[in-house]
Amino acid sequence: MTVFEQQQFATAAPQVPGVGAGFMATLRRDLLVAFRHRGEMANPIMFLLMVITMVPLGISPESAVLATLAPGMIWVVALLATLLSLDGLFRSDYEDGSLEQLLMSPQPLFFQVLAKVLVHWLVTGLPLTLMSPLMGVMLSLPAAGYWPLMGSLLLGTASLSLIGAIGAALTVALRKGGLLISLIIMPLYVPVLIFGSSAVGSAIDGFPMGGQMAILGAFLALAVILAPLAAAGALRISVNG
């Protein structure tokens, strides 16, 4: 039984582990979990594809009409797809007890939350961004809009994941948090939506879109610093209860 020798605790306390190693451990684990649940990963994309397919059928197949709708439509659906996937961000960890372990590990919670949000973005926001040109074709988006669409989605979806983490953390202990997340998060999503779709609109109309992109970038910078902090605090409160 004694594979290891009796250790002398008094001599050397274990070193406080590095932040980078903890970040990587959570990143690797969550990516693995996401990979094992590949089917669920496809949900936001399927949602996006279905809605975008319905639009020409439900409104009008005329490309002039679709072209005016396209930037806003794609942005709204991307936002809703992110919102739908948020509920599970901390839920499964809460239910199987790994969230407890995370809270009482000698790691700053900020970076642990950041790692989890990064994985969330990699499996929802990034695929949405990469699929967006296809949506553009289906809604006959004018040629000038493709790169701005991808650029604004790239910056915007990252902010959406980060901001959403706050709502997910606040509602993790509630059995039916789905609706509440939307209510908490929607007002914070509105500015991202407005500047994101207006960047694409401006580019299509031939105006510079640097301003909107800069604001999206500023949102992202702020969200990277503040959202994990707020989410970490919210997690502590949720688990405390």
Binding site: P17, A25, T26, R29, R36
Partner: protein, 212 residues
């Protein structure tokens, strides 16, 4: 006189306007195995959650090696291992991947290889089987394999023997005794009788608040 590892002074916990315990003072020295007893709903888990810093619903003071836990959080957590009701094991992952995460979070906290630890809890050959194929007892054993990995001094175990067979319980008891003899301490709750010498029992009911 050696400094006690954990000192609780005048701890009071209230839940839903019901006092679970009050005036609870307890000193845990190196080498102690403390069993917290009480009927269901008497606040055993609440006490352990307070000690694991996940719950802050208490008044009173907790000292870790003479310094308040609240201001030495990282230091304390670095020396703490908690196994709760929930195993904290991801079912989609294999035992090896689960323990890899644990070792990554607590980097440098590895006394033996993961294979060894899994072997010790009787999961040899199950290292790479996804955890949803394992039974409840085996899941529990994956969580308990942490005990073999961690060099933490304070072990807080909430019902560690649930779903564990007799031989497993015996092994765990021996492990706890070894840990205590090596200068660590164990706080646990269980409804089973323990075959350990030097188990200190704390009856939570003795600290029950006056009836309201």
């Amino acid at each position: 006189m050696e400094q006690p590892l954990l000192e609780l002074t005048d701890l009071r916990c209230e839940r839903d306007e019901r006092v679970l315990f009050e005036h609870l003072s307890l000193t845990v020295n190196a080498g102690d195995v403390v069993q917290i007893e009480g009927p269901n709903g008497s606040g055993k888990t609440s006490l352990l959650r307070i000690l694991s810093t996940t719950s802050a619903d208490y008044t009173g003071e907790i000292l870790w090696q003479g310094a308040p836990v609240k201001s030495n959080r990282v230091d304390y957590l670095n020396q703490l291992l908690f196994v709760g009701h929930l195993p904290g094991v991801k079912k989609a992952l294999t035992p090896r991947e689960n323990l890899n995460w644990f070792c990554g979070l607590n980097q440098g906290h590895q006394r033996t290889s993961i294979e060894n630890a899994l072997d010790e809890v009787g999961l040899f050959g199950f290292e790479d089987v996804p955890c949803h194929h394992l039974s409840a007892g085996q899941l529990r054993r994956v969580a308990l394999a942490r005990l073999f990995l961690t060099p933490a001094r304070v072990w807080i175990l909430d019902e560690p023997f649930t779903a564990i067979d007799k031989q497993g319980v015996k092994n765990l008891e021996r492990l706890m005794a070894e840990h205590a003899a090596g200068g660590g301490c164990v706080l646990l709750t269980t409804h089973q009788d323990m075959n350990l010498q030097r188990v200190r029992k704390v009856q939570l009911q003795d600290y029950r608040g006056a009836l309201q």
